[in-house]
Amino acid sequence: MSEREAVLERLRATVQPEAGRIPAFIYTNPTVYALELERIFQRAWLFVAHESEVPARGDYVTRYMGEQPVIVSRGEDGVVRVMLNVCRHRAMRVVRADAGNAAHFRCPYHGFTYASTGQLTGVPFQREAYGDGLDRSQICLLQARVGSYRGLIFATWDHAGESLDEYLGGMRWYLDLVAGRGPMEVLGPPQKWTVPSTWKLPAENFVSDAYHTAYTHASLAKLDIVASTGFGQAGYHVTAGHGHGLGIGIQHERSMYPPELHPAYERTLTPDQLRILHQVKNLHGTVFPNLSFLIASPVPVDGRWVSGTTLRLWQPRGPNQVEILSWCLVEQEAPDWWKTASRTSYIQTFGTSGIFEQDDTENWEAQTRASDALQARDDDFVLNYEMGLGRPSLADFPGPGVVYEGKFNEANARAFYRQWLDYLLAEQPERPGANGAAAPLAEAAARPGR
């Protein structure tokens, strides 16, 4: 039995999400990680950018899907494409900046030049080098399938699978509150930092874990920034399907949002969504596998209580390292004071220096190191994921999914690992041969999918 088959067998036998049993080796096992890249990050819809990062024709940002570099580009035709940032000639990285505006992308190695649509348009000394032997129209940067929801651009290498709308399913209702409560934009480039943690721990933390706030973030209660160490309990725990999920912290005083922002919300959201939004005191979740979001608890900014919204990408960088991209998302039409105050609140609470988030990375790093150490054991060190097992769900919540009263629950973590396991154990499509037609040099058509 190969190492890979042995690991799959072990996963099948030991990962039991519905029983609340998850073995610690899955956090950082190198074979598990290789399987994740191949079976999750090569197949699932992955968040790559917000549309406001590429507003004009020629705008691009560079990102990763799994560990593969991609260019997210708004072409000269206005269509957003996501293309592998790898030259078709010798696999050189074509674009090396984080962001910019370009009519074409020129590979630094031999000068192969691609239009912003990905089409190869220029080859230096083509006649001398190739004679008549190179048909440029047959060569294109490899294109991912692209979809977009409420300004969030996703891409996948699975050209035949479900649509983005199907993939997001019921999660769309909740994403509306975060990214679609009106026209939204990100402020500046993302903060970016690297933490010695598996990518799964932060994804799981955001999707499920309101419980940790009572102790990890107890410092905020000591400072009276939150009412008590139990501030994370009141609200709803939403299992949204497909491994997606969120927690909605609820308060019954008045909306966190200033009245001048309400008209845009009223234009965009349904009455049920609007009612929930005005009751939110914080909201956190994950779109499987590695996009998280958060409407943070408000903190005082210049005498007002202001909340910031963040989008978060947990970019895998090896079995025990994650690169974090963190954006601040604001209402595009908001007055400047709100954008500035919202950014101040976000920087103060979340992101690299955030007084809530600082302590999270300490946990994820230590858990990751423990998982590394536990690889040596020949038993399966099983972790307890039982919180909320058997708890009845609500029958009358207006949003989709399975919804529980109270946020101290691990149902979402169980659903996350169920989805994760299903991807890893799925029947694999046959790989085309070395010269197979599945990865043509040319794309039949750019697939904007929008």
């Binding site: 090396r96 900046a97 984080d98 962001a99 910019g100 402020l187 500046g188 480039p189 993302p190 903060q191 970016k192 930092w193 690297t194 933490v195 010695p196 102790y215 990890t216 973030h217 107890a218 410092s219 905020l220 000591k222 400072l223 920034i225 903190v299 690169e323 601040c328 950014r343 101040t344 920087i347 103060q348 992101g351 690299t352 220096s353 007084i355 988030e357 600082q358 302590d359 990375t361 300490e362 946990n363 790093e365």
Partner: protein, 173 residues
């Protein structure tokens, strides 16, 4: 800082170096209340996001997003938090060493102000990890004389990384 900035006296230069080294010592020995006392009431303390751009691009420093964007009030909150019993990011505390060099001093915008540029190499080590995080930056400061003593009125930290190589910023630069 312009190349032709007028030099300041040796005495003033030494006073600035003394200020910066003293500040580094306070940070490295976790005397954060004393550090706060070195800041003016209207201090602006910022660390913008650095990005990788092509050489021809206007700037690789973004003033639209920051790692730190602080006033005295927000710095006070951060330090008050670190003093609670629940600030795990720095409890146990990191061992840090703020190495300050390449200090340049020029007259500032106001009569009691100096424009000060310095390089910072910040070593950070935690727990039993034999490795370390190393942050390199240039700091653009404004020092102001208040009641006869120098105070930090403004700091802009230009980091030499577009992908920050430390797990959090529960420390100050």
């Amino acid at each position: 800082m312009p190349d032709d900035a007028a030099p300041v006296s040796g005495e003033l230069y030494l006073a600035v170096c003394h200020f910066l080294y003293h500040e580094a010592e306070l940070l490295d020995s976790h005397r954060l209340d004393e550090w706060l006392a070195l800041l003016t009431d209207d201090v602006v303390y910022q660390m913008p996001v650095r990005v990788t751009r092509e050489r021809g691009a206007p700037s690789d420093v973004s003033y639209d997003m920051y790692y730190f964007d602080e006033t005295l009030a927000t710095l006070r909150t951060r330090i008050a938090r670190l003093k609670t019993d629940f600030a795990w990011a720095e409890d146990p505390p990191s061992r840090t060493r703020h190495c300050v060099s390449n200090v340049r001093v020029a007259p500032g915008a106001g009569p009691d102000e100096l424009a000060v540029h310095s390089y910072l190499l910040l070593y950070r080590n935690r727990g039993d990890d034999p490795g370390h995080d190393l942050l390199s930056a240039e700091r653009h400061d404004v020092l102001r004389r208040v009641d006869g003593a120098w105070r930090l009125a403004r700091r802009c930290i230009i980091l030499d990384q577009a992908n920050l190589g430390t797990r959090n910023l529960a420390i100050f630069l």
